[in-house]
């Protein structure tokens, strides 16, 4: 039992100081400038070795697959990574670089390794059991609240979970006393990622984005992150964005790069667009069990692929994608 402790002993990977973040955000200008660029340019410009990266969507749903692949291909290393229900996105980064280097070395974990009903990732497990990744434990809600605190511009928010558990003990949260009720609360520190990778349904050139279906934590994540790379199923005009201001989920002043990537969440599920490719996801999980087979799989589907369009092609191309569209919209 840990209820007598008042500070988790897990590592705090990022600075929760809102004044440090404010100094950064102050210089972030140019809401209404053209940010359209290629996936490779966006990753080259805004994801650096050592950065703390967060992935939007929910593991295998509305994830920015194209951006994640590119991070691997550009061989970023020593990243920090935030995982609230990180599943296929985790699996992609867990692959490591073509030359065998680890992509991330620091991890805020709420749900990792698993692909929910699909089973556990053998590669993710190998990585996490290697001891090579420094881990801090959280819950899904606590991690979402860390983005919320950062988006809000305060150094922490209080929550009522994690209390009394080892999840708290291995976190970097702090138990505080409520000044009004005297009750114990869990203070979760603001998490300002260096860069967020978020896939959306529609964006204009400036980065005003629309999301359909659940927003998970992306409303807060897009606001909390120092840089935001958006990939979008469709690029729409700013006139179109202005025709329905209620539909905007992410305002342009949060966004640094906009990439046009149809099917950009494949093999994940994109609400209202296409269902997940369970065949491909199973193949990925299966391949991970055997190191040799896995290497061949990665060469074929990740390392040896020149761009995301080619990946879609070798995964079955238009025919398969049309099938996934039917599956989603039947």
């Amino acid at each position: 039992m840990t209820s007598s402790e008042n500070t988790g002993r897990g590592p705090l990977f990022t600075d929760p100081d809102p004044d440090v973040a404010r100094a950064f955000f102050r210089e972030k200008k140019g809401a209404l400038t053209d940010k359209l660029m290629s996936v490779s340019d966006a990753v080259a410009r805004f994801v650096h070795d050592g950065d703390y990266v967060a992935s939007g969507g929910f593991g295998g749903n509305r994830i920015a697959t194209a951006l994640l692949h590119e991070v691997v291909r550009q061989e970023r290393t020593n990243l920090g990574f935030a995982g609230h229900t990180t599943t296929h996105d985790f699996q992609i980064l867990a692959a490591g670089t073509r030359t065998g280097k680890q992509i991330f070395s620091r991890l805020d974990a709420a749900y990792i390794l698993g692909l929910e009903a699909r089973g556990l990732s053998a590669q993710a497990r190998r990585l996490m059991e290697s001891g090579e990744v420094e881990v801090c434990e959280w819950t899904n809600y606590a991690l979402a609240c860390r983005f919320r605190a950062a988006a809000t511009g305060v150094p922490f928010v209080p929550v009522r979970s994690m209390l009394g558990t080892d999840t708290f003990r291995e976190s970097a949260a702090k138990e505080i006393e409520c000044p009004f009720t005297g009750k114990s609360l869990m203070a979760v520190p603001a998490l300002y990622p260096d860069v967020a990778l978020i896939h959306v349904h529609e964006s204009d050139l400036f980065g005003n984005c629309r999301i359909r279906g659940i927003t998970v934590a992306d409303w807060d994540l897009s606001r909390a992150s120092k840089h935001v790379i958006v990939s979008a199923e469709r690029i729409v005009s700013t006139d179109e964005i202005r025709s329905d201001p209620n539909a905007t989920a992410i305002p342009a002043f949060c966004v640094d790069a906009v990439c046009h990537v149809p099917y950009g969440s494949y093999p994940g599920n994109m609400a209202g667009e296409y269902f997940s490719d369970e065949v491909h996801l199973k193949a990925w999980l299966d391949a991970e069990r055997d190191v040799e087979a896995y290497r061949a799989f990665l060469d074929k589907y990740l390392y040896g692929v020149d761009c995301f369009e080619s990946y879609l092609e070798i995964c079955g191309g238009e025919e398969r994608l049309a099938e996934l569209r039917r599956l989603e919209n039947n």
């Binding site: 039992m1 609240c145 009394g164 080892d166």
Partner: protein
Amino acid sequence: MYNAMELMICVASRLLEDGATVGVGTGAPCAAAMLAQKTHAPGLLVAFEAGGLAPMLPAMPISVGDSRTTYRALMATSMCDIMEACQRGMMDYAFLGGAQIDAYGNLNSTVIGDYKKPRVRFPGSGGANDFASFCWRTLIITQHDRRRFVEEVDFLTTPGFLTGPGAREAAGLPSGGGPYRVITDLAVMSFDEDTCRMQVESLHPGMTFEQVQENTGFELGQVADVKETVPPTEEELNILRDEVDPDGLIIGRS
């Protein structure tokens, strides 16, 4: 005839009354909620932690965030919005899947072995700790064996009654919550009001208390009048097999 999973799902579904609210994960918990909706609880309101609220589930979701969880839903919202409905006391049940569990209903889904050098690493809390902290009653559905039902969990991921009476409140957790029922392939367990320890509430057909105790790594209690679990009805099984899980993803393929 029915298999153990079918029994578990049917028994679990009966615990969810009409008009209640329940947060579920994928798999058996979701199947139980769907079955309840199609039998005695059409007004059961199902919430998914990633943001789906009260969908007309066209099929079993693969992820608690996939688009089936918002198919003709009343709302497609955020993780915080769902979790905060739970935190402010509006969610009656949390329905969690299998894990290492102790006599107080504490759950481990993080590691086997020492945390710093784990023998096995599992996914971690996900939303389980949040759900079990916030919702009024936690339901747990799991296989019953001594590896899972242990004297002490290797890692306390998700709170049950912690160390016993008053411990949740002392830790700062919302008062009045905690585990409610554990449904396994052998029996249904509840928790003693005074000690907060697990006790057998009903034994599945053919099971004895001794058999259940034998498969449990801690001392089990039992209620004064342990009953036999009412087996699945024909109607429940038909709906479960034909409408809830026609592909046998959870109950197995026939």
